[in-house]
């Protein structure tokens, strides 16, 4: 028999809004669909309901009922973030998880047996971890998703196997939220409790009330329409928020980002992993989007480091318009514990390195900061840049003594070469020139013939009377200097 746990947040839209803006928690809050005095109220906090505000009222009606009412537009981005946070909480204790459309999260309780000693412990752990990510949730365990959900709505408890019918029987019909026509019909039949509904024959109910009625009977018996369908886990964690007023200054935007980063770090911390990369998507008031990626040198959960990297990225390239929506995606990666040697240098700390790389990228450009990489190419001077990360120390290359290396000239510098009996005799170009006093070459270098970058060059090493030693080549009759030996 399966054992399913349900984790849900009552009044999810209100809870999500309070999670995004904790100042709203103690206030009589109502959420509207859209703006203006005629917009309908879709959800109200307990304090607002106590004053008589209900879903379905218009904003004007609600304000007439409660003068101190705080009305905010419903923020679906914040609700999605809250649901994903619940999924992360469930994922920290189980591997088979399904998120329902209304925000409830179901998990296979059998998968958590090695982490928590009992089902009551599982429910308690789920509620505690949900609190860490800023959500006041309820959790319950039962023999099906239907039973677990109803138990969670009831206040949260463990329904032992074999007692589902006894638990469900006294619950009112409204707990199943039947369609209004079916509810009216069942009311006429005198069906008011789930126990009464469960005793009805399914086939007879289906004949009179259709498939919806049959589904209600099965639900009253605690049966699911389908088994738990686990969803794929992993991927970036997203935290998003819609702003009440567009922001056109950096400091208020960073204040909003701080909240997003803290919530993302709290979710990531559930699994003991760090943030390897940040993705920032800003919805602007000119209907465009500003999307950028902030790489990090090493996975980290340090909020200050992450905020510094975001600040540097935004200062280097401010959004071109005021910001209306903010979505932060944190790509998770396991924090690597590096074993330091007793006699080897410690190197830069991951947090300091992350902020340093962010500052350098803002100063020079992200593509101009990294570790040099050797390209698999015959083209002299070919270079690439790889991300610079702290990792295991590579095997040191063998000692080579002191080498005469080439300083690249990028781009290659065109020069005039005067030849004597087919050999370069005099070279003249920008910043260099003189008689050839020593020469080696030519040797032909050909490469990338399969691509647009195909080249075929005759290379020379030339020592000139100006004291320089240059790497020159002739390409289709034209001469260039692409390196200086130094």
């Amino acid at each position: 028999m399966p054992r399913i746990a349900c984790l849900l947040v009552p009044d999810l839209p209100v809870a999500a809004a309070c999670r995004a803006d904790p100042d709203l928690a103690a206030r009589p809050l109502a959420l509207s669909e859209g703006g203006g005095p005629h917009a309908p109220i879709v959800a109200a906090a307990a304090a607002a309901r106590a004053r008589g505000v209900r879903a379905g009222h218009t904003v004007a009606q609600a304000r007439a009922i409660a003068a101190d009412l705080v009305v905010r537009p419903r923020d679906e981005a914040a609700e999605r973030s809250a649901v994903r946070a619940l999924v992360d909480v469930a994922a920290s204790l189980a591997s088979r998880i399904e998120a329902a459309a209304d925000g409830a999260v179901f998990l296979d309780a059998a998968g958590a047996a090695h982490l928590v000693p009992s089902e009551a412990g599982l429910a308690t752990a789920l509620v505690a971890r949900a609190a860490r990510v800023g959500l006041a949730a309820r959790a319950a365990v039962g023999g099906s998703m239907t039973v677990a959900r109803l138990a969670a709505l009831h206040g949260g408890e463990v329904v032992p196997a074999g007692t589902e019918l006894g638990f469900l029987a006294p619950l009112p019909l409204a707990r199943l939220a039947p369609p209004s026509e079916i509810a009216a019909t069942l009311e006429r039949w005198g069906i008011r409790r789930l126990g009464d509904l469960a005793r009805l024959p399914v086939a007879e109910v289906a004949t009179r009330l259709g498939p919806a009625g049959a589904a209600l009977v099965r639900a009253a018996r605690g049966e699911d329409e389908r088994p738990l369908a686990p969803e794929a886990l992993g991927g970036p964690l997203e935290e998003a928020i819609g702003l009440e007023h567009a922001l056109d200054a950096l400091e208020p935007l960073l204040f909003v980002l701080r909240g997003l980063v803290e919530r993302a770090v709290a979710r990531i911390g559930l699994e003991g992993i760090g943030v390897a990369r940040l993705g920032l998507a800003l919805g602007l008031d000119d209907r465009s989007r500003d999307e950028r990626t902030v790489p990090l040198a090493a996975p980290t959960r340090d909020v200050k480091t992450l905020l510094t990297c975001l600040r540097v990225a935004l200062e280097a390239r401010p959004p071109r318009a005021a910001v209306e929506r903010v979505a932060l995606a944190a790509v998770p990666e396991r924090v690597r514990a590096a074993q330091l040697g007793l006699f080897s240098p410690a190197g830069p700390s991951p947090e300091r390195l992350a902020t340093t790389l962010a500052r350098l990228a803002a100063l020079c450009g992200p593509e101009r900061v990294g570790a040099p990489a050797v390209l698999d190419s015959h083209r002299p001077g070919a270079a690439a840049v790889a991300p610079f990360t702290l990792g295991a120390a590579p095997e040191p290359p063998p000692l080579t003594g002191c080498r005469l290396v080439v300083r690249a000239l990028r781009p290659p510098r065109p020069v005039e070469v005067f030849a004597d009996r087919g050999r370069p005799d005099f070279v003249r170009g920008e910043g260099l020139g003189g008689r050839v006093v020593g020469a080696a070459g030519p040797w032909r270098v050909v490469g990338e013939w399969w691509s647009d970058g195909a080249f075929a060059r005759d290379y020379y090493d030339l020592e000139l009377s100006d004291g320089g030693i240059y790497r020159c080549y002739r390409d289709d009759g034209r001469w260039f200097v692409d390196g200086v030996y130094d």
């Binding site: 300091r352 570790a371 050797v374 270079a383 290396v405 080439v406 300083r407 020592e463 320089g468």
Partner: protein, 222 residues
């Protein structure tokens, strides 16, 4: 066996009161990997200080800087190379012995940005060696003192590779590369190749060591 009086003179007699007795920490050294140069410099480049490596083009200053960087990465140091001229060739650096995974390559677009980048790297700490590869190191007002302070605070060595020495008294070490001999292999009727150079290195400035000492460093082509 020292006498009791000599020992007391060394450790201080009872009742001695000495103000300001904090002794400066001994200057650590960053070995260059070249025994003859390390001997001339008293063990290597001074840690937490500015060192200059100056010379005309093709006198071997970049090769020598690569050798120092290779020794640093071989010792496990994380290093940085500030390269506003985009002159570093990764293949040449790897052939010189530098562990590329330990090298942070920064390519600012101007000399002033290069100095700013060097200051950021020195301030971050953890980089045993920061190479600033500029032709004309114009630090601007207050640039050299800031770099010197940042290097000292984090015990990182700043190696300035340039055409001329510009840091003045802010550099603890100045090396100048001058006359050099170019070596070519082969001859008439044989394949001629550039073998390398014999670079003359002069210790032009050193707070510790022997200024004025000259030595020859052989640099070979890969």
């Amino acid at each position: 066996m020292p006498t009791a009086a000599a020992l007391l003179d060394r450790i201080g007699r009872p009742g001695d009161l000495s103000l300001g007795t904090a002794r400066p920490e001994p200057l650590g050294r960053l070995p260059t990997g070249l025994a003859v140069l390390d001997e001339a410099l008293g063990g290597g480049l001074p840690r937490g200080r500015i060192a200059e490596l100056a010379g005309a083009p093709s006198t071997g200053r970049t090769g020598l800087a690569c050798a120092i960087a290779a020794a640093a990465t071989r010792a496990g140091e994380t290093i940085a190379w500030v390269d506003p001229q985009d002159a570093l060739e990764p293949e040449a650096a790897a052939a010189a012995g530098i562990a590329l995974a330990r090298l942070l390559w920064v390519r600012p677009r101007s000399v002033s940005d290069a100095f700013r980048a060097a200051e950021i790297l020195l301030g971050a700490g953890g980089f045993g060696l920061v190479v600033l590869d500029v032709d004309a190191p114009r630090a601007g007002a207050g640039g050299w003192p800031r770099l010197a302070r940042a290097a000292e605070r984090t015990r990182s060595t700043l190696l300035v590779v340039a055409l001329r020495r510009e840091a003045g008294t802010f550099a603890a070490l100045g090396l100048e590369l001058g006359a050099r001999r170019v070596r070519w292999s082969g001859g008439p009727g044989r394949l001629v190749l550039l073998e390398g150079i014999d670079a003359r290195v002069t210790v032009a400035r050193s707070r510790i060591g022997r200024p004025g000492q000259a030595l020859v460093v052989r640099q070979a082509c890969a």
